[in-house]
């Protein structure tokens, strides 16, 4: 296996970008990453997108989006794994470079959620679960996560306020992020008194619908080192799955796919959770962040809520979580989520993030599709020339 480096990153602002189209967003992120990477050619393009078929009536995004940035002839492939599409696409790009099938690879994620048939947003979430047995019977994504939250609060005696603190911290972290959808600051009561989605989850417990794109250029690390510039290497790329329907699982208070992906990633990278300087975790709902912190082994079962409350996941804490603001505040354009997480970790490891964790050396991303049906974990290491 060849070592793989990240040598270019790009990202659009996330938000309700009414004046921007899917291909515009893609082009901005991809061209920014390519401009920074300055590679002699691109051997392959991977596109992460979760719902353009339903949101915009547009499929075949490999061809469309590679062609839109002047790479029409390059093999271009669309990867979909619900909200984990970004992580899954990066993993395929990593496999291509690590295995020696390609040298220079562009991988980008994009979603255009506003402007196009947005009345279907709730329905779209059901297409990421088991439609025949969950969606068809009327259960929504929020309802599934609400059941998880109820079980978690009951099992561990964690509090609703601890859960709400995840959202408060997210907005605090996004404050100076120029790409963030929400930079306004919120209070605990903003979350606990928001309109209900599915009890105990309320509107501010959920990530928003967002437009946006993010992109990365990969290259063999040996090539990248010759440039004499700071690089970030991918020390581990791991993915696992689980039965798609939540009712088929043995536990409600953990995502076993994420546990497996994290353990595999730690093993591949030769690190433990205590070596990680900074993390971007998949906080689709506040409760999801608590599960993620425990699934990745940062805190013991049932302890993540108290850890957030005690500030252990703040920038200055032991496990700096989502310095970008995460899905909750930076935004959650489905297919772009997993790529944007790695873009933020890359900035952190270069020391150029808006909300910089001091001395960040090793970073982890955790990207989940559906209610834990797919989980992808990447570990990155910073390297000075």
């Amino acid at each position: 296996m060849r070592e793989v480096a990240i040598i270019g990153i790009g990202q659009t602002r996330f938000g309700e970008l009414w004046e921007r189209s899917l291909r515009d967003l893609w082009a901005e992120a991809a061209l920014t990453a390519l401009d920074e990477a300055k590679v002699p050619r691109i051997d392959a393009v991977y596109v992460a997108n979760a719902a353009s078929a339903l949101l915009g009536g547009q499929q075949h995004l490999g061809s469309l989006l590679a062609g839109h940035i002047g790479l029409a002839e390059v093999p271009a492939t669309h990867i979909e794994a619900a909200e984990a599409s970004g992580g899954a696409a990066l993993r395929q790009a990593y496999i291509a470079v690590a295995g020696g099938m390609a040298d220079y690879v562009l991988v980008g994620g994009v979603e255009k959620m506003t402007d196009l048939e947005s009345e279907y947003q709730g329905y779209i979430q059901t297409t990421f679960g088991d439609q025949d047995f969950e969606g068809f019977n009327g259960i929504t994504s929020a309802a599934l996560y609400a059941m998880i939250a109820q079980a978690y609060l009951a099992e561990y005696g964690a509090t609703r306020e601890q859960m709400a603190m995840v959202a408060v911290q997210a907005h605090a972290h996004a404050r100076h992020n120029p790409y963030a959808q929400f930079t306004n600051q919120i209070k605990l009561e903003t979350v606990t008194r928001a309109p209900a989605l599915a009890e105990p989850l309320r509107m501010f417990d959920a990530a928003p619908n967002s437009d946006g794109a993010a992109a990365i250029v990969l290259a063999p690390a040996d090539e990248a080192r010759k440039r004499g510039l700071p690089i970030v290497t991918i020390a581990a790329s791991a993915q696992s799955g689980d039965l798609l329907a939540l009712h088929s699982r043995k536990t409600l208070t953990s995502f076993p796919a994420a546990v497996r992906a994290a353990q595999a990633a730690y093993k591949q990278a030769g690190v433990t959770c205590s070596d990680i300087s900074v993390v971007e975790l998949h906080d689709a709902y506040t409760i999801a962040a608590l599960l993620a912190l425990e699934d990745c082994d940062f805190f013991a079962r049932g302890q993540a809520g108290a850890a957030v409350e005690d500030g252990l996941t703040a920038i200055s804490g032991r496990v700096p979580m989502n310095p970008s603001g995460g899905l909750k505040a930076q935004g959650a354009p489905l297919g772009a989520i997993g790529i944007a997480q790695v873009v933020e970790i890359t900035r952190q490891l270069r020391g150029t993030a808006a909300n910089q964790v001091p001395n960040a050396r090793v970073g982890l991303t955790h990207n989940v599709g559906g209610v834990g049906g797919t989980a992808v974990v990447h570990i990155m290491k910073g390297e000075q020339p």
Copy 2:
């Protein structure tokens, strides 16, 4: 790069399978392939599907379908490239095994086109093209291929009857195929007098809507050889793209993406078109088969029609084309097409096909998405123990 072998194949019957669901079809094909492969484990699953988001409101098929056959924990990834989803997914699976990232990989394609919102079939085809500039303005897939046909007939003086012979031959080839949707025999007049789709294309110039699935198990060839059974190796896996919208191209009478993919495949395999014993080409419309025969270099420009008319593409001809019946007669379940092509070539190279080409040694598959936006070509070689 490691050499990669096909050690298991499976396929459902193609057709209007009203009593079968997406996951049922997948399971039948995948379990048949796994049963034959008898591997100690599966390291990765790739799912090819083109339109389940629109046809069945079901995405996240990696998780759903891996879980449905007892492989919930295995990294499972959904690949979409319109009608070339199957070829593109096989290529990702090939990259994983060739690069050493996985040993045993299951790759399957499935589509459930009947029974579920089938009134959208025409719309779905537009999602494979440039929706904003083609579909939005009312142009259908059949209309795009009709323009290609008009240009081809005008440019080369080929005849409408030559084009129709593609469909007649397809039905003749499918006659004894137990998996085929259409085993009835048709006459030239059946095609030329059928109801019009978009002139000069009529109903029998087009592949049908089909339900079905096909699956393949890959392994390192060195591993496979130890079993002492006939194997088929993948001698080349190549993909290229093109500008998605037909109006952006410089030519109407060839798919440059297919030309590039075929040339790259010949180079990788170290063969020329004259070494190929049998081919499965993407005959979405009769005209597409003529382009394919020329794009893959089997006949000079403008000569494919006469070649079909003269029987050169029959089983006993110089370029035995689509012994399965192809998309036209075996059927065209979108995501399964590219996998089913390779399944048929594998049977041919094993010498076990229903419509066997004598002494088939090297086979080629040609899988196209949209109107040439993506093309994937694989070359396989048979090997006796």
